[in-house]
Symmetry: C2
Subunit: 300 residues, 2 copies
DNA sequence: TCTTCTTATGCTCGCACTGAGTATAACCCC
DNA sequence: GGGGTTATACTCAGTGCGAGCATAAGAAGA
């Protein structure tokens, strides 16, 4: 029987003032996701993850979901060794990380994903030409067209619609065209700068953000990231931060109220303008609707 | 560094005359999914999977997607050993399995999932009372209500809507209430009978069916299971088989044509009634729509 | 040939939801 | 009170969908 070294990684997401953020710890080669080993007496992978995250960061995780298992040769510098890593997504409200850990803004790692203030310039200035050059590599024939079409789909060139969920596909395409390097190394003029992260940990963050953006639209996961009561604008800002797009305020309000996702508490909160009513998540919605979520443009 | 035995499993899905089916091979303890070991020189997990499936079943896989990694202690009879299994979903049109393999009807394994001819009686006759008894175990208080609510959500009791995607949640709840046993063993009057499968392979099938039903609604995966040209009724029957629900014929037609998912070829096929036009998948839809899929009731 | 059965295809209501925008309310500060 | 700010209510047009009616085009049998 063959065996491999098995590791676990946690992409722990919370939301700061303006953007989603992931918990990272410092490592020799840039920042790293909290990682651990599976111990012989961990009954389940989930429990192992919770255990070592508690040990390393003093954080008690709430929502936890398995993301993906990475096992390609060459994902770690040592070519001989295969490291199998099971990555998890975890959500938490906690905002005070322990000593050697810190929150890292997701959009520092993946700047092309934030469209709240419009389409990032880097897409048309850097990515578009790079994808075109990459398509030209294989000639103007079939293969080139397929490459161009793939670029159009994931980056929404030529009037194709932007799909916020395709975070991982964008990451992988950027990697293929040579605009980003996986392991920390010298960044050049032809790569998109970012905070260096260990191994393929940035890819794990991309996987997590994509999954989260998808789940947003059909499961009430946002409420894992909010306090028990909140104003509708707080909820909206949170959804916008995760989805990476701006939303129409009145329609957002109508959506969550008519979907009966939230219920008013009667209390209000001072805001600087007219006081806002405080709402709470309405748990009963789980039995009423098949896919209770918040609705962003790409959920149709 | 800790290490574990690592296996790969493939849930290979095709669609027969009336139902989705998975490829199984015979094993000492009932049927088993094709499984393999990761070899040291397999560059990626995908490639390893394709390699051993080719060796074992002489099948060349098309669409392949990682499903989930199973690693709980106790999923295999030997309590000491931890077996980590990375399960994959694969789609294929091939209908002739090799010697020791055969196609097994998904709804023989998961009979409560097929609602095409109405809600299966087993849900209200067997599952409902069992869930109620299970809820009563913890008293009529908070815990009991939570259990009952969970039953309502996943099995659509008390007017809750049926959500075809929650295959795995249903499987897990049935397991918790004691209506099915994971490893092959004596079935009793209080368990739902089914074909015995090795280890937790039936759980893997449930995972695969759930994933497939979800993907159906936002990616054109059905066409992986169809010949190049097909009639709209063939397409509809296929979607119905996977989704486990019956669809309105005229509306289905309108949906796929207006979404521009398919295009007519001009040819027709004899059917027993008026000849049907043959259609093909319209690849350009990938750049036009963010989530090209077929639309089933739970996709809203 | 005429009838009946079967499948395919076209079309039309009515409802629900959505995008976009206008209008009004309720607080702050000065 | 005026102006800024945020909250909340409401309207209107377009779109998508569930449900059903109607017609077309073949096969099979009387």
């Amino acid at each position: 029987m063959s065996s491999a070294v098995v590791g676990l990684n946690a992409v722990i997401v919370s939301v700061g003032d303006t953007a989603p953020q992931v918990l990272v710890v410092s490592s020799g080669e840039g920042w790293a996701l909290p990682s651990g080993q599976l111990a012989a007496d961990d009954r389940t992978l989930d429990l192992a993850l919770r255990r070592y995250v508690r040990d390393q960061t003093a954080l008690e995780l709430g929502y936890v979901e398995q993301l993906y298992t990475f096992g390609d040769l060459g994902r770690v510098p040592d070519e001989r060794q295969r490291l199998l890593s099971v990555a998890y997504l975890a959500l938490t409200r906690a905002d005070e990380p322990s000593s050697n850990a810190r929150w890292l803004d997701c959009y520092e790692l993946l700047p092309w994903e934030d469209h709240r203030a419009g389409r990032p310039a880097v897409l048309d200035e850097l990515v578009d030409p790079a994808v075109n050059a990459w398509a030209d590599e294989v000639g103007a024939g079939e293969g080139g067209e397929a490459r161009r079409q793939r670029g159009d789909i994931v980056f929404a060139f030529h009037d194709a619609p932007w799909d916020g969920v395709r975070v991982l596909e964008r990451y992988e395409l950027l990697y293929e065209v040579g605009l980003l390097t996986e392991a920390p190394g010298p960044s050049s003029a032809t790569t998109i700068d970012s905070v260096p992260m260990r191994f393929d940990h940035r890819r794990m963050v991309a996987t997590a953000l994509g999954r989260l953006r998808g789940k947003l639209t059909y499961r009430p996961v946002v409420f894992e990231l909010l306090p028990d009561t909140f104003t509708l604008l707080q909820l909206q800002r949170l959804v916008e931060a995760l989805a990476g797009v701006a939303l129409h305020k009145q329609n957002f309000r109508r959506l969550v109220e008519r979907a009966r996702l939230v219920e008013g508490t009667g209390d209000t909160l001072q805001t600087g303008g007219r006081p806002a009513e405080l709402f709470r998540f309405r748990r009963e919605v789980l039995t009423e609707r098949p896919r209770p979520g918040v609705g962003v443009p790409w959920s149709l």
